[in-house]
């Protein structure tokens, strides 16, 4: 399914193998990105970009975050380099891919403008999720006791920009969200076995100190 055009990567620049448009990497470690013009999902093989026969397919949305935005979390600066959009029966949410100044990655979740930052817990904790998993159950992750708040079956709706893995499978995946009384947040992604656990916290919009946000017609930028 590789398109005919050569997709060469030179430094942080590349050209789209599908439409020839320039591709600019914000993060040199990106494994996958999308073409801003034709929405092709492009996988990076060292110096080549391969179109994997899909389009990013990001529907119109109103998240104020965008690729290239910067912010802070726990005294570290980050840059937004890409995102995954998820959808489920009652709506959808964004997981913005963050690269921190120290080279590590994380995720900024925007669920109807409720913000949370999480990072992958490694090694993946073996959580005793049995078949009877239900809301209200509590689990210890790290140093906090989390309670299951929602169990969702979601699929990804689209991707945009740079991601740390090749991801375009649209199968439905179970997600379990967990919360604590102190606004800590964890989400368990059952797309892999053992499931991936991301842990972090809910963050007030102002505390993220976001810059480079989208502008909305008729609305002043946030102070």
């Amino acid at each position: 399914m590789t398109a005919g055009l050569p997709g060469r990567v030179t430094g942080r620049q590349a050209t789209c193998p599908n439409c020839g448009a320039p591709i600019l990497f914000i993060w040199s470690g990106a494994v996958q990105t999308t073409c801003a013009y034709c929405q092709s999902v492009l996988v990076r093989h060292d110096l080549d970009l391969e179109r994997v026969g899909a389009v990013g397919d990001v529907p119109p949305d109103s998240s104020p975050v965008q690729r290239g935005a910067t912010g802070r979390w726990r005294n570290r600066g980050f840059t937004v380099v890409g995102r995954i959009m998820y959808e489920y029966a009652r709506g959808g949410w964004n997981e913005w891919h963050l690269r921190f100044d120290d080279g590590t990655g994380g995720w900024l979740s925007d669920a109807q403008l409720e913000w949370a930052v999480t990072t992958l817990v490694e090694p993946a904790p073996r959580l005793p999720f049995g078949v009877g998993l239900r809301r209200g159950q509590s689990f210890v992750i790290g140093d906090a006791t989390y309670t299951v708040s929602t169990i969702t079956r979601a699929r990804y709706r689209g991707v945009e920009g740079e991601l740390p893995f090749v991801y375009w499978d649209k199968a439905e995946v179970q997600f379990v969200d967990l919360r604590t009384p102190a606004a800590r947040f964890a989400t368990v992604d059952f797309s892999e076995d053992p499931p991936l656990v991301f842990a972090g916290e809910f963050v007030a919009f102002d505390d993220l100190q976001l810059t480079g946000l989208r502008a909305f017609e008729g609305w002043p930028p946030p102070r």
Binding site: P64, L113, S149, R179, A183, L213, G218
Partner: protein, 443 residues
Amino acid sequence: MAAATLRPGAVRSLSCPSCGAAVVLRGLAWTQTVACASCSAVLDARDPNLAVLQRAASRMRVEPLIPLGARGDWRGAPYEVIGFQQRTIRTPDGAWSWREYLLFNPYRGFRYLTEYDGHWTDVVPLQALPEVGGGAHAAAAYEGRAYKHFQTARAETTFVLGEFPWEVRVGDVAEARDYVAPPHGLSAESTDDETTWSKATYVDAAEIWRAFKVEGRPPSPQGVYSTQPNPLAARARARWAAFAVLAALLMLTLFGRAVLSANREVFSRQYVYRGTTVPDAPAAPGAAFVTPTFELPGGPSNVVVETEASVDNQWLFVEYALIDEATGQAYDFGREVSYYSGRDSDGNWTEGSKRDRARIGAVPGGRWFLRVEPSGDAAGRSIAYTVRVRRDVPTLAYYLLALVALAVPPVVGTLRSASFETRRWAESDHAPSSDDDGGDDDE
């Protein structure tokens, strides 16, 4: 189909497929459902054609007090009213409805204003999970504050207008558990899929009217609302605080008075009563006699005349007159000293006291003397007694009386505050007739 301009960030304007009226969309791509302002049909905002999800359920129409589209500076950011719904709780005693206004800011998200009988609260969704104790009526804890369970009820959506970032229908039902710690409240709304928590704070309607530039005046609140701060409690607290200050001042005054008052003994002499009055020395026979003059220093102040007698199963009655040497002004008073003791089937008993104090207020300064006329049942035994005169003696009793008088306003305030709380809880699951409080939270 071309009607939908999905330019992000712009207000969209479409036509209601049910009645043809204009439908304005303000909530950007967040809006999932919109109820036509004209015919109340519930429409699918994600569908370019605005598919009708629900025809107007009834002709009942509720007018929002703050119009849709109103924008105001609220809690530090501009917010726009984009949605409105009325929700109703039905009980065997009747139905209670409140109204929710959905506020939107494209960066800070969604929050609500709610109104019930003229009482308003500002509501924000909670990301944290408050702790709830066991049992249906357990209290909740959040941010170090304890919230009492107020009510658990089925809340039904009975009217919708405008936009919502979730699917909404007239007839939607959620179980709502409400907790209060005035001026705050917590609410947990559960559907089959999820439980969402929110935190409410009681606000003055006038503040909302100013912020959103609503015309006219807000309707005055009726009755007592669950999260309404108890103004009487504040008043009672203020009164107790004032009481504490005044009581401290009073005690300070009493202390100062005790330290500063002269409390000086200006006369003391011993006499003996022998059936007929014979002063020990300097003696002058006769029933009555006068003391030497003594100086009462200072301006008008009190005088205490103390009679201490060696009565033993006897009584001594003394008719006094305190007389101003210069003017002849006199204060007449009679005092009795009696002391009895004995033994009966209950054991030893005593009655009376060997000492008596008589207080005379506001006696001018000058040279004074006492006229003394004792009588008693000496019955052969003599009674030695001492007459002492003290000037400017502090009086504890007056201070205690003042203290009691000062305590009246705060006590009344506390009683009235308790009556306010009774009215607050009258509409809860914990109406005072059943039990005064839900379970205790031992979290």
